[in-house]
Every structure is written in structure tokens, then in C-alpha cells.
Symmetry: C2
Subunit: 370 residues, 2 copies
């Protein structure tokens, strides 16, 4: 892979992603200032993840909002492939989904694809992916969703609802389509080949349009869904994409739940958070404090700064101050890391309490097949 190249698929992200290029490659649309204004007009504000381009791209969001303004409601759908414990990068689209849910007062479906991760990972059993699905669901619920409006779908548990919907989609997708979109080969197992139609299924679970906030790596699935939708007489899903969250060890990939050292889990202790950030977090600073004070750091590639930007510092003024101070060299790498450590520790302390309480409330969130 040449150094200026990058790979973004639902199962593999590699290289330093150029999001402008990715928009062209995927054929999505950039979130323009005009679209942002429209969102503010409807919701009263632009979430900081929108202002900062964490959500940077979309498909048909403009049309969806136009329809919404004319009285046509939509519902929300997002999800997670339970291949491991939840890490803080996973929370990005979920927190944003909650904001959307509140602003548009609508149902949200959260799909946990235990089957997908079983198909995709040679060494994972279905029992393991189910267990991870349960663990991930706790983190989701801990973010403050309300069970009346929020339903968790687990593929193997809710297959009776999903399968007939998936079948409608599956009949309209052939192997060549999956080859073109996902790069599947003769060696790909038939579970994987079928699976995309199950990720499409929740798009059609209610008989109205859907908006899907999601990591941009998941876009290929819904490119297929959008092709199929008119063929089965259903509206095309609208999408809003977030960037890939860098791993602690730096840009060039998304944070992966299976790479212990580069990952902060939602269940990490304050000590683990401190140790991981201090030891592994990729820095945009200079080799020595003196040099740093003289030359300044580079917040644009600095992972602690990026984590503040993406998730942990919603206040634009404070973030700007940190940016300027780090760039000018006033703020040292250790100091910047200390800011992040405090923010993460504070967040996780509260999150872990809510996560514990979620254990008793989880049942209320599970979608029930009819």
C-alpha cells in the first residue's frame, strides 16, 4: 500500500484516511455550511460533533430534513459489531444518535450484530459474540437512552423479525454485487455473503424513512441497501457518517477493540487510563520540553488533543485554548495528556456507575419479536 493510500471497509481500516478523498471514493456528500444551518434551524443548535466535522459526510440528509420540515417523520438506526469490549471510540456515534433522538423525538433501533462478528472472526464463537453484545449493550444503555423510544436488536435473538426483511433484500443482491462492494472472493464464507442483508433489515423495520448515524467504514453496507430499497418499494435510508476514531497509538486506522494497548475500554480503571494515555498516546509534541516550548506542538496529529476534540471537550472555547496553547508550545505534552486523563477518568467514573445500573434495566430495551 503506497503511503498516501488508505483502506476503509466494514472489516478493515488501514492507513491515514483523507476524508475529502474518501467522500469522492464512496460517492457521499460533504456536510456543507448550508446543511449545518438547516440542522440548526430545525434543532436549535449544531452538536459539537457536527460543528467540528466529526460527522463530516452524509447521504440524502438534506432531503430527509426537507421532508421532516414538511411533516414526514423518520426513525433512527445505528449499531455495533460485538467483537470485543466497548471502547471510548464506539461511544461517538451513540452519543450523537442520542442527540438526534432527543432533537427529533423519534424511535432509535440499536443493532448488535453477533452473527456478523461470528462470521468475520475465525476465532470468535457465537457464545463469545453474544456475550460481547450484552457487554456493549450495557455501555449503550448507560448513555441515557429511554426504553420507551429505544430498542436494542440482537441479530440472533431478533432474527424472526429481521430475517423476512433481510430476505427481501437478499433476493435483490447477487454475489457480484458483494464482490464489487466488499471485495468478497470465492473464499468468503456464505454467512458473510448473506450478512449485509441482515444489516439492511432494520432500515425497513418501520414503514417510514430512516436516518443512520454511523462510522463511515459501514457505508458500503448501506450503499447496497440504497440500491435495493426502490426495488422492494421502500425509501432509501439517509446516512450521516462520522470519521474513524484514531487508536491511542496514532492516526492510521480506527481504534480497535482487539488491540489492548491502543484502546481505552469503558471498564478501564483510572490507573489503566492514566497508564495507557501516558504510555501509548501518540503525541504531536517535540522530543524535549525545551524544544516543545520553542517550536510548539502539532495538535492536528496529537491523539490526546484529538480525543478532546472528538469527544471529551464539548466547549469550543476551552478546546480552542488548548489548541492554541499546544501549538504555541505553552502547553506541554505531559500537561495535555493530564487534561485528557482527567476528562476520561471523570467521564468513566460516571459512565461505569450508569453502566452498573444498566444491568437491571437492560431487559426493558430489548426489542421483542411479534
Amino acid at each position: 500500500m503506497p503511503s498516501d493510500e488508505f483502506v476503509v471497509t466494514p472489516w478493515h481500516v488501514e492507513g491515514e484516511i483523507d476524508y475529502e478523498k474518501l467522500i469522492k471514493r464512496f460517492g457521499t456528500e460533504k456536510i456543507t455550511p448550508e446543511l449545518l444551518k438547516k440542522i440548526v434551524r430545525i434543532t436549535g443548535e449544531a452538536h459539537f460533533m457536527l460543528r467540528r466535522g466529526i460527522f463530516f459526510s452524509h447521504r440524502d440528509l438534506g432531503r430527509l430534513l426537507d421532508d421532516y420540515e414538511k411533516g414526514k417523520k423518520f426513525f433512527l438506526y445505528t449499531g455495533r459489531g460485538p467483537s470485543g469490549h466497548t471502547h471510548i471510540g464506539h461511544l461517538v456515534p451513540w452519543v450523537f444518535a442520542r442527540w438526534l433522538q432527543e432533537k427529533f423525538d423519534t424511535t432509535l433501533y440499536f443493532q448488535l450484530t453477533d452473527d456478523e462478528k461470528f462470521y468475520a472472526k475465525q476465532n470468535l464463537s457465537m457464545e463469545q459474540t453474544k456475550q460481547f453484545a450484552y457487554e456493549n449493550a450495557l455501555d449503550f444503555v448507560a448513555l441515557g437512552f429511554r426504553p420507551e423510544k429505544t430498542k436494542i436488536i440482537i441479530d440472533t435473538q431478533n432474527i424472526k423479525t429481521l430475517y423476512p426483511l433481510a430476505a427481501q433484500v437478499a433476493k435483490k443482491i447477487n454475489f457480484s454485487n458483494t464482490k464489487a462492494v466488499f471485495g468478497f472472493t470465492g473464499e468468503t464464507n456464505v454467512g458473510m455473503i448473506f450478512y449485509t442483508s441482515l444489516q439492511s433489515a432494520p432500515c425497513f423495520i418501520e414503514n417510514r424513512p430512516v436516518l443512520i448515524p454511523l462510522g463511515v467504514d459501514q457505508d458500503p453496507h448501506f450503499r447496497i441497501t440504497r440500491d435495493v430499497a426502490p426495488k422492494i418499494g421502500r425509501p432509501k435510508p439517509a446516512l450521516i457518517h462520522n470519521i474513524m476514531i484514531p487508536s491511542l497509538s496514532g492516526p492510521g486506522g480506527k481504534m480497535s477493540a482487539s488491540e489492548e494497548s491502543g484502546t481505552i475500554y469503558t471498564t478501564d480503571s483510572p490507573e489503566a487510563v492514566k497508564r495507557k494515555i501516558n504510555k501509548y498516546a501518540f503525541s504531536g509534541g517535540q522530543p524535549t520540553a525545551d524544544e516543545h516550548r520553542r517550536l510548539g506542538g502539532n495538535p492536528d496529529i496529537d491523539v490526546p488533543y484529538q480525543y478532546l476534540r472528538i469527544f471529551f471537550e464539548p466547549d469550543d472555547k476551552k478546546l480552542r485554548q488548548i489548541y492554541d496553547d499546544y501549538k504555541s508550545g505553552r502547553l506541554l505534552t505531559g500537561e495535555l495528556k493530564a487534561i485528557l486523563i482527567e476528562k476520561v477518568t471523570e467521564f468513566l467514573k460516571s459512565h461505569q456507575q450508569k453502566r452498573e445500573k444498566a444491568k437491571d434495566r437492560l431487559e426493558k430495551f430489548f426489542f421483542e419479536d411479534r
Copy 2:
């Protein structure tokens, strides 16, 4: 296709099938006189479909019976793809399955693959295949099964049980496997590609060996299942194959539920039966009665005779008499047809009454997901 060639796949049967050749092509085993003797030793008799080679081939039946004699019980599984109304050809493996069930006192699962036929037939909706599944189930129940030991599985209804089993299989099958076994191409829809793993699933629904009585055209599915079974730590299913039931209009294909003129449906009136047999049944007789008396007929290609052999005349002596009389020319084509018409009419009169009663009992047979 050269005239000596034939095609046998789960979705397409064409040409005059040479069953000796088919055994070699599929790599199955012939039911030998020794194996027949073993069956008689265990069950006390050989069903006429065994004696006459209607069930002609198997995989691992010898081993299964050896194990049975050592005390290792098995269960039974067969099924039907609900692409249309039930015709009399469908009843062949079901009647035989009932005999096996009684002789071996075991559970029987009957799978109705509404999803498969939806995937395979461009013009069938899932509502239609579901409706046919219900219709077909009535015919199945009418054959005298007991609900305590007999469970009907409908794919879309029982997917919660089937899918996790299918997923274990699906992970071990790749696209190239399905290409080699079924001749799938890039144009094949992903539902079809995945489907074979759902036909495998009931093989693993109980934790003991299974015997599957089935039309030989379904063998390719279980060739895959048998390859996969040891990889997921389960016993290979044993199979016993029946020949394809010829359509009324003659050898060179199996009776098809979608070809009205060549098909006697279980719901046909006595008039329809008479008309269809007289009008369409392919005859092995001579052009005129005089010639027939002089030269004799050919029962081996005569469809009315074959129907008697396959299903409607269990008495070997009576069948032999008909054979000899037709061959010698004593029995005319019209007379042979009249014998069949009487047998079919008699059978259907009783069957249709039982089928009507089955409507109230059907619920008892439906498999319940846990």
C-alpha cells in the same frame, strides 16, 4: 444436452435419469440386497418402496443401522420446498418417512422452506410461499403422523431456532463450495447462496444422528452438510434417496408442481384425475388396440404403471400381474389407466377427508422455538 445426458440439482431436473450413473456421479451408495436384509432384520419387513427400488441409494445408512443395533438412536428429517400445491409425487418420501418413524419409533422433523422458494422463484412472494407451506403441511399431516413425535418447521417461523445452527454451518462454507456443488455464479442472489446452510440446520436440531429420506435431487445440500459436520463436531447425516417421480406426461423430469397438465394435485376432484390421466398420462402402449394385443405394451416407460409401482399398488403380486398382462398385450392402455384412476380416486377421497381434518390439528404439529 445430448440425449443420453441428464441434469439433477435441487432446482432443476431434466432428461431421462440413469440412476446407476447418478449414483456414480453423486458418489452415493446403492441399496444392496445385504442392506435390505439388515433393514428387514431390524424392522421386520422391507417397505414396498425399498423392495422396488423407489428408494434406491443412500449415504451411511449401513453405519447408522449398525449404530442403531448397538443402541444408538437417531431421528428423522425431511421436507418440502413450498413452491406450489402438493402433488402426489411429493407424498412418496413422506409416506416412507412415516414408515421409518413407526419402525424406529423416533422424532421426525418436517421442514417447509418458504424462504428457499422465495429466493429461487423470481415471481413468488414470501406471502405466497408461506401460503403454500400451510397447504403442503395439511397434506403432510393428513398422512397420519402423530403430533407428539412429529414437528413441522417453517423456515421463516422457526428461524430463531434454525439461524444459530445455520450460522455454524455457513461459517464453514465458502462461495466456491456452493459454486462447485450447485453451479452458482456471480448472478446468484445472496439468499440462495446462504440458503443451503438453513437446509442443513435441522440435521443438528437434536444432539444425535439423523436419517434423511429425500428425493435424490436434494442430495447436493447434504453433501455440503456432511463435509461440514465433523468441522463443527457433529455427526454426518445419513441419507436415503428416492428416485424422481415422473410427471404424467412421461419420463424425463420429475413431476413439477408448476406444470398443471402433467400433475395430479392432492386436491384434484375425481373428474380432474380421470381427465388428466386419460388425456396426459404417457403410455407405453401401442398406437391401436389391435397392435397392442399383438405386440404388447412397455410397462417400464408407461407412467400409469409406474405410478402403481411407485405409490398406488403396494401388493407385489397384483402389480406383477398388471405388469405381465400389459407386457403381453392382454391389458390395454385404457384399462391400465382405469386401474390407476380408480386407485388415485380412492386414495384422494380418503386423503382429502383427512386433509380437511388436519386443518384443526395443524397447530399441534408446529415446532416451537425456545
